[in-house]
């Protein structure tokens, strides 16, 4: 949907179609932020709130009810997840690399950057799923289990959304879209991807470390 908001504006006349031929008068721009970025930021606000709600569940189980964390007789693969964290963070860096490259017309940098970002993200997701398989407890064993799967699963879902966005951008990058002048299509999904990473740091530290 974010991809939608990116493309769905009259302002992006550069997406290979003409909005303004016999269209409406160009809207007056009453703000310095461009609609796409603003839209994405607002969307991220509500995403943060979704996580907020899941953290509320976490809070009620772990703090209010003061139950052991993780549930008795289970432990969490802190190390593996730690490596995974590193992977995801590095993907943020490559994303940034891709953006800077497109900004100064380095097409190779753009493509390579997008590709590595995508692959790193995919690896993260894979490791995560693998972790689920071997972790040794199920959502229905305990409320803690539910919260654990709830939070990490929710984040996993967002990684997935992020990956679909990245895939789109990558495809377009290889098809020669985006220029130094017009690269919002890379920038805005980038913002989302960075959000996904930051969110993971919060999830990781509160679920695994604390």
């Amino acid at each position: 949907m974010e991809a939608g908001s990116i493309a769905a504006s009259h302002a992006t006349a550069t997406d290979g179609h003409d909005d303004h031929a016999h269209g409406p008068p160009a809207a007056h721009r009453s703000s310095r932020v461009d609609p796409q970025t603003l839209g994405m930021l607002l969307f991220i606000v509500s995403e943060i709130m979704i996580f907020g709600a899941f953290f509320t569940a976490y809070f009620f189980i772990r703090v209010v009810a003061n139950d052991p964390w993780p549930a008795h007789g289970t432990e969490l693969p802190v190390a593996v997840a730690g490596v995974n964290t590193a992977i995801l963070l590095s993907s943020s860096l490559t994303m940034h690399w891709a953006l800077t490259s497109v900004k100064n017309d380095n097409r190779f940098g753009l493509r390579a950057g997008m590709l590595t970002t995508f692959l790193l993200g995919a690896t993260f997701l894979f490791v995560q799923i693998n972790e689920y398989v071997h972790i040794g407890f199920a959502p229905h064993d305990s409320a803690q289990g539910s919260v654990f799967y709830g939070l990490t699963g929710l984040h996993g879902a967002h990684v997935f959304i992020g990956l679909t966005l990245l895939a789109m951008v990558t495809v377009r990058a290889f098809r020669g879209h985006f220029t130094a002048a017009e690269h919002r299509g890379v920038e805005v999904p980038g913002i989302y991807w960075h959000f996904v990473d930051v969110m993971w740091i919060i999830v990781y530290s509160s679920v695994y470390i604390l």
């Binding site: 939608g4 493309a7 008068p25 709600a53 008795h72 305990s142 495809v171």
Partner: protein
């Protein structure tokens, strides 16, 4: 035919929908066989997945995402020839359309359809309650009736109808050619009917419709038959729809205002929708999450709310209520603030006076937004939560009456020494003023804990609900629909029928919901299909009056339909209003403006000779006029 099946539209939608159901079967069978579950084919599992997948597949087929798929694949996107703009025939209202005016009407009409459905259910509720004992529905169906009644009227009527009206007038008001994200706008509309039909369809689910009220408290909602899942999923669709619209409004208001339209020159309707959208974007994710919890507990055996487990492993039942109300209290202002906006527009125009204390009106909106997030637990005074939370919540809740009071009093002051045109929109506006005040005051009584301890979960609450939602929100909606009817349809509504509608509604409404305060205090609990003998008299009276309300609604429907088809032609500006939407023809031209207007003064400068709000000139030409009407809004 083959072409039709490939082109976006109902045909392609149909088969992708079927595909979605197939997908549901495939996925569930696959997963269950992988996990070695048995039987491999489980009806409920399939139904659950289908409820989520089928609508999405349908939207894909229907064309909701086409543009973005092209974009994603990097194909040259179809040149936007604006065939999507404007509606030539009624058919155009039944396809993806990116014109905010078309979408606005789609929204409004759809949600009024759901008002009739929800109202019809209310009539059944009243028929059942006309006498003690059970008339013609059993307890389970009854619980279904009021649950669907409330869910439909809240999620499919009040919230979207405001979004609809705003969709139509807001871009016009701020001098924008359209919303910021037209395709997103179309998508968020089409999510609505899906949610609504899903809720209605739940009546045909095995085990009956969802029956845990619109609040769907766990663990009841996690125990009920599959009908409950229809609610859980439908709410997700409705929620997504309103978040996307809110996002769209915010971006439109921030980035697409006409030159000269500073925040302090925006009509209060725009301010109201700005505040509401903030609430929606921040709060709605919480109800989404609360229903995710329920869904996970129901279908994947999670334990967010199960308590029978080993010590230290139990879920927390109250957590649901906290998360739910953290959305659903702000939601009540989501259902009221746009109404406040409508009333401000109408009172200023119909009293031929500037809004009294314009800036305080805007600030009080924002104050309500902020305070709205600090009071959720006033719905949990008897829930058994930690008792200390109640006190701060009581105080914040009571304090909300202050900004709301500022609005009410400022509206009264706006009437003062005006020239009141007492036509239908104005009547409904005044009706709102009086009725909402009553509902609000009963709200303040509910904030007072010792009172709530007694009246919580009684008909006193039901009375409060309807005084604020019907006497409040619905009255503003009626007012707004009558007020903008000429603009939307280009025709005049029938004034006499309008007045008749008002008086029938006003009287019937008070006779229906007034007595509920008494039986509530007397001890009649809510959500019961059967009640003690001593309440029989009042309930019969209430039921009879409720049919009056019902019939009055029919008058309204008739008036709308007949006037739309055969009403007298309306001029561009029948109310002599200053705001921009009235400066263009009725109905407005396809692209709203040939050239974006320039705003040179406040929106409500009535009574000031030669005052103008916006003019169709470029900023450069406009300058001189600017000096005329820009006065400080308070002196």
């Amino acid at each position: 035919m083959a072409a039709r099946l490939r082109a976006p539209g109902w045909y392609r939608g149909a088969w992708t929908f079927a595909l979605g159901i197939g997908f549901a079967y495939g996925l569930t069978i696959l997963l269950r066989s992988l996990l070695g579950a048995d039987p491999v084919l489980d009806g409920n599992a399939v139904l659950t997945v289908a409820l989520i997948a089928a609508p999405l597949f349908f939207l894909v087929g229907f064309g909701g995402f086409d543009y973005w798929f092209y974009w994603a694949a990097g194909k040259p996107t179809r040149p936007e020839d604006h065939s999507g703009h404007g509606a030539q025939s009624w058919k155009d209202y039944f396809r993806i359309n990116t014109d905010h005016k078309v979408i606005g009407i789609q929204y409004t009409v759809t949600s009024f359809f759901f008002l009739l459905v929800g109202g019809m259910l209310a009539m059944l509720i009243r028929a059942e309650l006309a006498a003690p004992g059970s008339q013609f529905v059993d307890a389970d169906t009854y619980n279904g009736l009021f649950s669907v009644h409330a869910s439909i009227l809240i999620f499919l009527f009040i919230i979207p109808v405001f979004a609809g009206l705003a969709n139509f007038v807001l871009p016009l008001m701020i001098g924008a050619p359209d919303m910021a994200f037209p395709r997103l706008n179309a998508l968020s509309y089409w999510l609505l009917p899906i949610a609504g039909l899903m809720m209605i369809a739940s009546f045909f689910a095995p085990g009956g419709s969802f029956s845990s009220g619109w609040t769907a408290y766990a663990p009841l909602s996690t125990d009920l038959p599959i009908g409950q899942t229809f609610f859980t999923v439908a709410v997700q669709f409705a929620g997504a729809s309103s978040v996307l619209t809110a996002l769209n409004f915010l971006v439109t208001i921030i980035t697409m205002r006409a030159p000269g339209m500073s925040f302090w020159r925006m009509p209060l309707l725009v301010w109201a929708n700005f505040s509401t959208s903030l609430l929606v974007v921040i709060a709605t994710p919480f109800i989404a999450a609360s229903q995710f919890f329920v869904l996970l507990d129901r279908s994947l055996g999670f334990n967010f709310f199960q308590t029978g487990l080993a010590a230290g492993n139990n879920g927390d039942v109250l957590m649901y209520q906290h998360v739910f109300w953290f959305y659903s209290h702000p939601a009540v202002y989501i259902m009221m603030l746009p109404g406040f906006g409508i009333i401000s527009e109408i009172l200023a125009v119909k009293a031929r006076k500037p809004i009294f204390g314009y800036r305080m009106m805007a600030f009080s909106l924002l104050a309500i937004v902020v305070l709205g997030f600090t009071v959720w637990a006033h719905h949990m005074f008897v829930s058994g939560m930690q008792s200390w939370i109640r006190i701060p919540m009581m105080i914040t809740t009571a304090i909300i009456a202050v900004p709301t009071g500022i609005k009410v009093f400022s509206w009264l002051a706006t009437l003062w020494r005006g020239v009141l045109h007492l036509d239908t929109p104005m009547l409904f506006a005044l009706g709102f003023l009086t009725m909402f005040t009553l509902g609000g005051i009963s709200g303040v009584m509910l904030a007072i804990i010792p009172i709530t301890i007694h009246v919580s979960d009684t008909y006193f609450i039901v009375a409060h609900i309807h005084y604020v939602l019907f006497g409040g929100s619905l009255f503003t909606i009626f007012a707004g629909v009558y007020y903008w009817f000429p603009k939307m349809t280009g025709r005049m509504y029938d004034e006499t029928l309008g007045k008749l509608h008002f008086w029938l509604t006003f009287v019937g409404f008070n006779m229906t919901f007034g007595p509920m305060h008494i039986i509530g205090l007397q001890g009649m609990p809510r959500r019961v299909s059967d009640y003690a003998e001593k309440f029989a008299g009042w309930n019969l009276f209430i039921s009879i009056s409720s049919f009056v309300v019902g019939l009055s609604t029919l008058v309204f429907v008739y008036n709308m339909i007949s006037s739309w088809r055969g009403g007298a032609r309306a001029g561009a500006n029948p109310w002599r209003a200053l705001t921009l939407e009235w400066q263009v023809s009725s109905p407005p031209p396809v692209f709203n403006f040939d050239a974006v207007p320039t705003v040179v003064g406040g929106p409500y400068e009535y009574g000031i000779p030669g005052a103008v709000h916006g003019i169709f000139k470029t900023p450069a030409e406009a300058k001189p006029a600017g000096t005329v009407a820009t006065r400080p809004t308070s002196e």
